[in-house]
Amino acid sequence: MPSALGGRIDDLVRSCFALGKEERFEDGMESNFSRTLLSLLNKYGSNFVHSLMPLLVTKRVNAEVAGEALRWLGASKHSSSHSSRRWLLEHLLLNSSSPHVRDGAILGLSFMHDASAIPSLKSAIEKEPYQELKRDIGQVLSQLESKSQCPSSSEKSVR
């Protein structure tokens, strides 16, 4: 990604999360934050997800806002960013120390209906300390194992 574009997207990401910090989220309801997030995703695709990753991976955002972001990232139908969004959700499910973040990742993965996430979900259920989240992971696993849907994305260049 050209550095000028990357810098601009980084600024937009920070602004978006600053917005989220001021909002109160209601389960399943859109918000200014979610609308902004999805608008940026639709405009910038995987570049936006890549800009988002360091922020979420290095825990530089409020955990509740991060969890909300993951939920909406999973719910999005933006096709070209599907693979990078799924990687991010799986990575945070397996590596985040915050239960809010893991909860958001589980919900996001449940919306993606992608059986490729099954191995990560199986690993996650083994190590999840919270029973409620363990149950949620189990439900998503059952859902995916019975449906086994697997949308694909194509990226030819690795530069």
Partner: protein, 280 residues
């Protein structure tokens, strides 16, 4: 829509080479890229030191961006390890000494074979030490150069690699040709696709010395322009097949990607098909 079946890779169908030796190409850079599985934790690693047996020369950490880089000069090349979310890169490129040499020729590590040998020596160590994590995708990249006397000679040389394209070597400039010729791998049951991207161009380089004053700019010296044929390779496993590939499988897979890159450097992107058509 049913997927079009891709022709398998077969060494028996490799076309006669356009160049006599792979070492007609100089390697400006060679790259291994791996996309780790989501369980791979992001952070600093000690791979560079373990693989080379010497201390890192320069470590760059940007924790807020989850970016980590170790690098140093080794045996005529500069080896760099870069880690970021979703990506691991090993790169062998020019050394610092060549960087700062005024008026030096094109920046190269060495001839392709020697660069490849050096690069694979360190990668093999990484594999053998079981440091390579499971990957969902991998790639081989290269920037190859061949100095020529002028642009026309460069285009004439490139025409031999690109018989499907008509280039007017005298009346053309700024020509760039990029193509992907995917193939099915011989590994993983043949259902696994490899993208073979190549980019072909002729570059011009020159240096000028300028004197700048409060109200003037003078060109005080100017080197003769230099030309080179440039081939950029990106041979990668297709994104719609996500493994995961265990650390044990990766070396064999990477060997296959390197082999495909060499074939393009020797015979061009059309290689076998064009040759078989020409024989008819």
């Amino acid at each position: 829509m049913p997927k079009k079946k891709l022709p398998p890779i077969s060494s028996k169908k490799v076309a006669p080479a356009v160049v006599k030796s792979i070492d007609e190409w100089q390697a400006a850079a060679l790259r291994f890229t791996g996309f780790p599985v989501p369980s791979f934790p992001i952070g600093e690693v000690d791979w560079w030191q373990k693989v080379t047996g010497v201390d890192v020369e320069l470590r760059t950490s940007q924790p807020k961006k989850a970016l980590f880089q170790d690098e140093g000069n080794l045996e005529g090349g500069r080896l760099t390890l870069k880690l970021e979310p979703m990506r691991i890169d090993w790169i062998l490129a020019q050394t610092d000494a060549q960087d700062h040499e005024v008026g030096s020729d094109f920046k190269t590590v060495t001839l392709f074979s020697a660069a490849q040998e050096l690069f694979l020596k360190y990668l093999s160590q990484w594999f053998q030490l079981n440091l390579c994590p499971p990957l969902r995708r991998l790639a081989f990249g290269a920037i190859l150069l061949h100095p020529v006397s002028d642009r026309r000679t460069g285009y004439e040389r490139m025409s031999k690699f690109l018989p499907a394209v008509t280039i007017d070597p005298q009346g053309s400039s700024d020509f760039v040709y990029q193509i992907n010729r995917p193939r099915a791998s011989t590994l993983v049951g043949g259902e696994y696709r490899i993208n073979r991207l190549s980019k072909w161009l002729v570059l011009t380089q020159g240096m000028r010395g300028i004197q700048v004053g409060p109200d003037f700019v003078h060109v005080v010296s100017e080197d003769k322009a230099k030309f080179e044929c440039r081939l950029e390779l990106d041979i990668n496993t297709a994104a719609d097949f996500e493994g995961p590939f265990s650390g044990e499988k990766v070396p064999g897979m990477f060997d296959e990607l390197v082999k495909l890159g060499r074939e393009i450097a020797l015979s061009g992107p059309y290689g076998a098909r064009r040759s078989s058509r020409a024989r008819q």
